[in-house]
Symmetry: C2
Subunit: 197 residues, 2 copies
DNA sequence: ATTAAAGAGAACAAAATGTTCGTTACAATA
DNA sequence: TATTGTAACGAACATTTTGTTCTCTTTAAT
């Protein structure tokens, strides 16, 4: 099914196409009904691929979901990592280009319809995935810093607090139809996070 | 199916039993496999009720889930509401009996196995439900208070931030095998929340 | 003791799952 | 360009799950 070359996975152009078609169909369906109600039949009908083809790519619906998550967040997190290398987490209070602002802007652009998935009926799954990625990102940046709360509160707790708050904020933003700009949101976030950094 | 008396629902003792049996079986199954993999057949086998009986109580598996959530959190939130009436949200910084500490202690006691559900594979569903209940509770307490952030950050944002942070903390606590006492956790939470109140 | 309702259990159609074929179409090589 | 491997097709299939419809029995409330 998959060919390996120099350690990286090379995909047949056909595979890429069907994979993309399945992802797209699945994403669209998630906007229409809850995850548990979506059937493989619906997916392959919309994606216009054969039944066998689907099962050749994904063992189950759950696997498809997982693969979609990985696809989605690896991009957004990678670009945030890039950003954090040059600017750091929140070292200087006045940095206009924080990771968080960067992430929010990235979300606003909404490539590959992350927002659609984060606001669909079954968004909890994506939220958890998003948060897990975020935790890793923040942790890698965090232990570099010395924080005054060092003894009072464990660093692990703080990493979770920051990631969790951010994800919950994004959810709040989306549910409120995204009336605020990324910059406004970033300002809110700094207000509640910087006092504890 | 259901009899009404003075506006409240009165249940036949038989109904109560089967309902309880179904809830219990469902809860146990959620600890063993993911929600999407659980079948109605498994539930009725474990609960030892007939197929017809199940569908007389719940239209779908999703409805059962929803009913379970409502059952779970109405108790825990009601007792927290009680507590908040006497002590307020976080008015005085040294109150040993905050809503949050109360909630954590309540969770620690773990009646009706809330912790099991919050740590099972499909816990996202319960988390959202928990957070929604919490948001309402905090909102009802919050707008009574005057907070210094009044202009800088919307109250709505703060309510979401507090509820969200709390839920994320509980999740972190459970995932870390609950090594901290409710009092320790409450202390952590105050450290990150009181600066923004 | 009477009555109304709930559960058991079997049987059923319809839908969804997951697998196995042989055949066709295409993509990456030489 | 010809060759070769393999992805996709599609039809057919057994199996599982769903949701409904019966009849009959048991139980709770009064």
């Amino acid at each position: 099914m998959k060919l390996f070359k120099n350690g990286v996975i090379i995909m047949d152009r056909r595979q890429q196409k069907t994979r993309a078609a399945i992802f797209q169909a699945f994403t669209a369906l998630l906007g229409e009904e809850s995850y548990s109600r979506i059937t493989v039949q619906e997916i392959i009908d919309r994606a216009n691929v054969g039944r066998t083809t689907f099962y050749a790519h994904f063992e189950t619906k759950d696997e498809l979901l997982k693969a979609l998550c990985e696809n989605l967040f690896c991009h957004i997190i990678a670009s945030a990592e890039d950003c954090s290398h040059t600017h750091g987490l929140y070292c200087d209070g006045s940095a206009p280009e924080s990771i968080f602002c960067h992430l929010l802007q990235h979300l606003k652009e909404n490539d590959s319809n992350v927002l659609g998935l984060l606001s669909c009926e079954s968004n909890e799954i994506f939220l958890r995935f998003f948060k897990d990625s975020l935790c890793e990102l923040i942790r890698s940046q965090f232990d570099m810093q010395k924080h005054p709360f060092g003894r009072k509160v464990p660093a692990d707790f703080l990493v979770n607090h920051i990631s969790g708050s951010f994800v919950e904020m994004v959810l709040w933003w989306i549910r409120g139809r995204m009336k605020q700009t990324p910059e406004e949101l970033d300002c809110y976030f700094r207000s509640v996070i910087e006092p504890v950094l």
